[in-house]
């Protein structure tokens, strides 16, 4: 159960052996995101007969493990979303929202908080195409950067959000692209992604 323990002695020992560790954070290529863009093209994907919810954390890139980075690292993102197709398909319109918070200071704007509004929802078109566990959605959103202010109507696409297994940690994975310059793709180091039937409004 909730077994408590004291850190006091341990902290003293840790202080004595502190070692400076250089942090090498991988980041998307430098570039610019233009506000007021058009939604990313929704063509290519098929009609999806499911909806998706998810939330959690991504640390490692490109499926290179799912461990949480070391405690001095800012190289991780957290997220939460709900997305679904809105009408009988076609067209592949969608609805929902996503929050994506990038903490890596080497990413666009020194890191950012992104709020996206979903306008389309389809099956996937990337390397996960044909995998019934994965969905694709996108739209436009507001980008609040740490260093560069706020950008409105920035296009985004969740290239895939995959509900592989329960629990989501170490199994589910997600890839997001914001504007032309930011992308993060990895297996969840925390949280979960779930695929649900198209019932109800939530």
């Amino acid at each position: 159960m909730n077994k408590a323990r004291h850190l006091s002695l341990a902290l003293g020992a840790i202080a004595a052996i502190l070692v400076a560790v250089a942090c090498q954070d991988a980041a998307s290529p430098p570039g610019h995101i233009t506000a007021g863009g058009s939604p990313p093209p929704k063509e290519g994907g098929g009609c999806a007969n499911f909806r998706l919810t998810g939330g959690g954390r991504v640390d490692q890139r490109d499926h290179l493990g799912y461990a949480k980075n070391t405690p001095e690292s800012h190289d991780f993102a957290t997220f939460g979303f709900q997305a679904r197709p809105t009408s009988s398909c076609p067209p592949t319109d969608g609805s929902g929202n996503i929050e994506w918070n990038e903490h890596n200071p080497d990413e666009f704007g020194g890191g950012f908080a992104f709020h996206g509004r979903v306008t389309f929802f389809t099956t996937t078109t990337d390397e996960t195409a044909g995998d019934s566990r994965c969905g694709r959605f996108g739209g436009l959103g507001r980008l609040n950067t740490r260093n560069n202010g706020t950008l409105e109507n920035v296009p985004f696409e969740v290239n895939h959000a995959c509900d592989v297994a329960e629990p989501g940690v170490g199994n589910d994975h997600i890839k997001i692209t914001i504007g032309d310059v930011y992308t993060r793709h990895g297996i969840l180091s925390g949280g979960n992604i779930q695929q649900h039937r198209l019932t109800g409004n939530n």
């Binding site: 408590a4 323990r5 004291h6 919810t53 998810g54 709900q82 779930q194 039937r197």
Partner: protein, 202 residues
Amino acid sequence: MVKILLALTLLAGAVQAQSVTGNAFGTYVNVAGIVARSPVATLPTTGGMATGQADTFGVPGSVDAQRLNAVTTGAVDNKKTGAQSTSEAEDVSTAGGAITADIVTAVVTSYFGQFTGGSDATGSGFTNLTVNGVSVTEDVAPNTRVDLPGVGYAILNEQIPTGNGVTSWGMTVNMIHVVLQNVLGLTTGEIIIGSASSSVTR
């Protein structure tokens, strides 16, 4: 007999109303007559998504935090039900500076499928945590107690499981839970930073 019990359990699950809960907040204080909680996100019991953001939160001498974010998402579905919540705060200082962190991240998820369920706080953590002026360079174990001389004590990465583990699963994680005490050791207030909770019921 086992098959009968299993069938009865599944039948009972089918009859009961399924539900999810999700809550997240950045900071809560109850100090010297000041009671405040912000930002807050509360998931509807039928699922969906809720968010809360605040640029800053401060109570002099008690807590100071920037870029606070709370997100909770979830869905009810006979096939698969889940809820996940995240809470984050940056540039955190509390208990008169006795505890500081670049980023405080709380992540919880609760879920069940047709035969399994669970809840966990994997992905929760601190970035560049210091306690009583000493850097903590390793992940903090759940329910770690630290003494704060002249202030009281704190539970770091406090994890409180809920549910019966058969038809319901849940967890609350409070990344920093400061209990303020007077010279007699009596509790005079509390501060919570980075709180996320979720639960599911079959």
